[in-house]
């Protein structure tokens, strides 16, 4: 059975095609001003890669903040639900999944059937999500992908105002004027994020086998800070930003098997 999952994030659309619950292909596109069109593009790419047509797909599920704009989708699933499904599909013993996106950060607890049992969300505040790291990188005049390696050079973290992206930016500028080192500021950024995320996880209860997904999972600096804060090494899949699409595709597989109402 072939299913398709789509994650319509505010920045990027991600698509995964599963053949009998194994990943057959991936597609992605920038959301831009027309997420629906971008999603069609991403789906096309994934279909081509898998060598199939849209009519071969048994069921399509969409997730993500723009999930209601998804083309082809038969139903939607919450981002938390998708996280739970993807996390424990990738790591069967996982019971805690952390998903840090650009605009929202989530921690999800799930049971052995990959169903979500509890969750904590940070939303509507840029300091609580990936936007914080992006803004600080801009203020430091460092490329986003260089922040991680830069932070690993530091032994300590500078004291920065981590409570707000706007205040943080001006803080960073004055710290630079005072000749504070960039690695130490970068490390402070990741430590602050890790601090917040670890409180979210503690609220759910730290169950070992913690999975980290979302674009920020690719950042070595953040991962180092988070591991330090949590006291465990988080597990990261190969394509961490595709977990939403994967979870949606897995949801599609279970829903396709349900009797039609």
């Amino acid at each position: 059975m072939i299913t398709l999952g789509m994650d319509l994030g505010t920045q990027k659309i991600k698509v995964i095609i599963l053949k009998d619950n194994v990943v057959a292909s991936r597609g992605e596109a920038f959301s831009g001003f027309d997420p629906t069109k971008a999603a069609e593009q991403a789906v096309d790419d994934a279909l081509k890669q898998a060598g199939i047509k849209i009519s071969d797909i048994a069921y399509v599920v969409a997730t993500g903040s723009n999930m209601d704009m998804a083309p082809y989708a038969k139903s939607t699933v919450s981002m938390m639900g998708a996280d739970a499904k993807a996390g424990c599909y990738l790591f069967p013993k996982a019971r805690t999944i952390i998903d840090i996106g650009a605009e929202e950060a989530r921690a999800v607890k799930c049971d052995e059937r990959c169903s979500m049992t509890d969750f904590v969300v940070n939303e509507r505040c840029a300091a609580g999500a990936g936007a914080f790291i992006e803004s600080m990188a801009r203020a430091l005049e460092v490329k986003l992908e260089d922040m991680g390696p830069l932070s690993l050079k530091a032994e300590r973290a500078s004291p920065i105002n981590a409570s707000c992206v706007i205040f943080g930016e001006s803080d960073v500028v004055s710290l630079i004027h005072r000749q504070e080192s960039k690695p130490e500021i970068a490390r402070a950024v990741f430590d602050a994020m890790a601090d917040r995320v670890s409180s979210m996880v503690h609220r759910l209860g730290v169950n070992p086998e913690v999975v980290l997904v979302g674009g920020v999972a690719r950042d070595v600096g953040f991962v180092a800070s988070l591991n330090r804060k949590l006291g465990v090494n988080v597990l990261i899949p190969d394509y961490p930003d595709f977990s939403g699409a994967l979870g949606a595709a897995l949801t599609a597989s279970s829903r396709a098997k349900e009797p039609q109402k």
Partner: protein, 303 residues
């Protein structure tokens, strides 16, 4: 295109002139109870001299990188041309943000208490609610008829509504910050507020609205409305009681002030005309501190 840095491009509208004033028609004698308050803020340092509990002189300077130095400079400035020396001051109270060091102070008192006392002095006993919106924080204070603090909160976690937050929007819309209030009122109908108070997200939302064809005025109105609602919520948390005054940089933003008045259904008390020898709300903290100095001195004399 690289996004302009808000810090680089910010025009400091909240920029005020350093100045010193000796109240006309006031004088001192050596028998008088002369006290001083020194308020070292993150942006400005102010010192006020009171003679028998009446404002006599004050000075406002920019806070430098060294707080104790700024405190000394501010006090010297307030004393300039008065004929007074520091040794003539019977009691000095220091105040300001954080654990500020005012080296010559007999006592340090929190800025909230001093600001409240000062507001009571400037506007009189009818003031019960003070909203102080600075460059980087917002304070909401409920006071009684003597200027005693009844309830307060201080919000420096989130830039929304602070001077810094407004600068970001002024920057985005390329509007000179001193015009931001007036321009936000140039709409025929008040649009719905932006959906998120977070400045970073509101900025993204604003860019989307501009693309949809909204005018700058409409976008600014939507944002200002959201900020006013936020500030009204903070006031409601400490409890709104008339009369209300708004102090700090945002008191100059008629877009914010008028919308707060609409949301809360009250009119604020007007600003005193400090340019024409009225009292300056900027020195409310220093005035309050000097008044506490008088009370503490008198209390010590009694015992």
């Amino acid at each position: 295109m690289k996004e302009p840095s808000t810090v680089e491009n910010a025009v400091e509208f909240w920029r005020w002139q350093e100045y010193q004033r000796i109240m006309p028609g006031k004088s001192w004698k050596s028998k008088d109870l002369i006290t001083a308050g020194v308020d070292v803020g993150s942006v400005g340092s102010k010192a006020a001299i009171m003679v028998n509990g009446e404002a006599y002189s004050w000075g406002i300077i920019r806070t430098g990188s060294n707080s104790p130095e700024s405190a000394t400079k501010a006090l010297d400035y307030a004393l300039k041309g008065t004929g007074l020396k520091i040794s003539d001051l019977k009691y000095i109270v220091g105040t300001g943000y954080g654990r500020v060091n005012v080296p010559m102070a007999n006592k340090a008192i929190t800025e909230i208490a001093c600001h409240a006392k000062g507001a009571n002095y400037i506007w009189g006993p009818s003031v019960r609610t003070v909203l102080d919106v600075g460059g980087q924080d917002i304070k909401a204070i409920r006071i009684d008829e003597t200027g005693r603090v009844v309830s307060f909160l201080m919000n420096d976690k989130c830039a929304a509504g602070t001077g810094r937050g407004m600068e970001v929007f002024a920057d985005l819309l390329k509007i000179p910050i001193e015009d931001i209030g007036g321009i936000s009122l140039k709409v025929d109908q008040e649009p719905p507020p932006v959906s998120c108070t977070c400045v970073a997200f509101a900025k993204t939302e604003a860019m989307g609205l501009l693309r949809k064809g909204w005018s700058k005025e409409k976008v600014l109105a939507a944002y200002t409305r959201a900020m006013a609602v936020r500030m009204a919520n903070l006031i409601n948390r400490v409890g709104l009681e008339k009369e209300l005054v708004i102090t700090g940089g945002q008191s100059k933003n008629i877009g914010i002030v008028s919308r707060i008045e609409v949301v809360l259904g009250v009119k604020c008390l007007p600003m005193p005309n400090w340019r024409d020898n009225g009292l300056d709300p900027m020195v409310a903290g220093a005035l309050g501190a000097a008044l506490f100095g008088k009370a503490l001195y008198e209390k010590a004399q009694k015992s």
